[in-house]
Amino acid sequence: MCNELAQTLVKNMSKDENWSEIIRPKRSWLDINLLELWRYRDLIMLFVKRDFVSVYKQTVLGPLWLFIQPLFTTITFYFVFSKIAKIPTDNVDPILFYLSGITLWNYFSDCFSKTSNTFVANAGIFGKVYFPRLATPISIVISNLIKLGIQIILFAVIAMYRVYFHDAQININGTILLLPVLILLMAVMGLGLGIIFSALTTKYRDLSFLLTFGIQLLMYATPIIYPLSFTSGKLHQILSYNPITPIIENFRYAFFGIGYLDIAGLIYSAVFSTIVLVLGVLIFNRVEKNFMDTV
């Protein structure tokens, strides 16, 4: 019995079937190695650190730019949309209204646009060494998350300032606990859409042009500079199909108490995000093996 076992063992060894890895043409759609991605978690964190350290080196203001960008956009919006166009903000202090929208929107648009050129922007390094390609877009989403955290603190500081000195009304309620969920939905949606586009732009570069102004248009189709309640009829209907709308609306409800808690909308966003991410990972996985030949 023992002898038999030993013989089969030897036989199996000599068949040299115990290869640790096999390089093959295209893998199937479902062959996704998430375990490998986990093994490279150190690399993801180092990419995050690199992005953070390198961006503001040799700038005079450094990380202050994180504050300047949203503030200036808010001020511009304030003058253009509130003062000139006189679009109402549901009786919320317009500065806080715009800043809240921009802070969240920027996170989504940065995740989307920066992951959408993953292959083209990293062709140099991808062409020389192998590591799970998903590490790059994931690190972008994480480093933007840190940026978002800092900007949310900025928002809180400005809010306190407006409340004390300008009698702005805020009305924080329990929905604020949903904030991590809102951010996660933004991240997943941005990442999913970004990697879908990154896979397509390797072959059809035209898409990257489309994307730049596409994201801009999308902002106007999301209640960032106007409240959803400002719209009505057909337009209102269309805007509620936008999966980002419930995220923004719920955030404003949590903070200002305008509108209502829209759980159905959030579930819609969550389903949309999940589908987009799964689709994105599948397509990305499919393209990553051969993209070097077309990039």
Partner: protein, 413 residues
Amino acid sequence: MPVIKVENLYKQYQLGQVSSGTLSHDFNRWLHKIRGKEDPYEKITGLNNREQTTDSKYVWALEDINFQINQGEILGIIGRNGAGKSTLLKILSKVTAPTKGQIKIRGRIASLLEVGTGFHPELTGRENIFLNGAILGMTKTEIKSKFDEIVAFSGVEKYIDTPVKRYSSGMYVRLAFAVAAHLEPEILVIDEVLAVGDADFQKKCLGKMKDVSSEGRTVLFVSHNMAAVKELCNVGLFLQNGQVNSMGSMQEIIQNYVTQNLATKLVAESAIDKLKFPLAQIVKSWISMQDNRNVISVDTDFKIAFEIEIHESDVELNLSMTIESALGQTVFNTLSESFITKRGNKTAVCIIPKDLLNNGLFFVTIVLTRDRSTAIQLIQEVLTFEVLDNRENEAWFGDISHHLIRPKLNWVI
């Protein structure tokens, strides 16, 4: 015990502009696929041969490659430019996937197609060691445990907290190689570009590679520098036009390579392609001997000439010519004077004086350059010529077969 087994490996590339016609080709492929037919573009794929122009838009960069490597071997992969060496390396490194066939691997594989991949100029040496190490597949803990060793090997201790953009190119390469050298995979794949840096460091690198294999690990080394390959490898693989020409002991394979390339090519013409070269193009290259003789010998002058067809006036052009030995070492490079173009044909001639090159086989590579900066046409190994020995006329013998030049210099006695 084999650690790598390559089986029926094929790799197809598309020639020319990739975006042109991709949508329609993709659609056509898909149509064939759903009807269960084979890929319509596989059939029209031409052989990987630079001398022949094919009409097909697709080419096999690798065709039916089969070989295996045993543990502890140092395999040298040789072949002319475009023979498929780099493609094979890329597939082994998982940078790109094969079209057909497979490679079986036993153990962790690390490849160095370039040193310092992912180095960020703004980050310090310390930060880059961690980043580069992680890109090459090490974990943070692994890098930490080897950090001191890496720094010591690189010899840049003093600058370890300085951004690498302030490094000299030598320091940069040393640091990058130091990280790579401490990878400790079971299989190491190395491209010849690693042979950079000063002579001292090169020795250190070659030494390190030998250490690696003596520890029972396997090395694959790609180069067209026969001297380096001969020094380092014990097994050789000769690729030609995307196929395996031969495999065996390194000595034997180098011999094969040299004899294969013995054919001289004294005239070369290239088809006029105004689309690719709107400005000017080398249309003909040739070698002419003194006094209408048909051999070049060490003690004869000869001329290398290029005919350039010029389509646009008032542009500054010049030529840069490189002579390489049969073993792939560069003998020298020479730059022509610049000239301002006039429409029509122009011939540029370079006179190679006698008593310069040693006897042997040499390759000519030519680059047509605009404004002394932009290469507009590069023809690798456009001509091949042989310089014959003349020592029957001289009172001097001795083994000088591996010398590249044989200058006649003035002695004062």
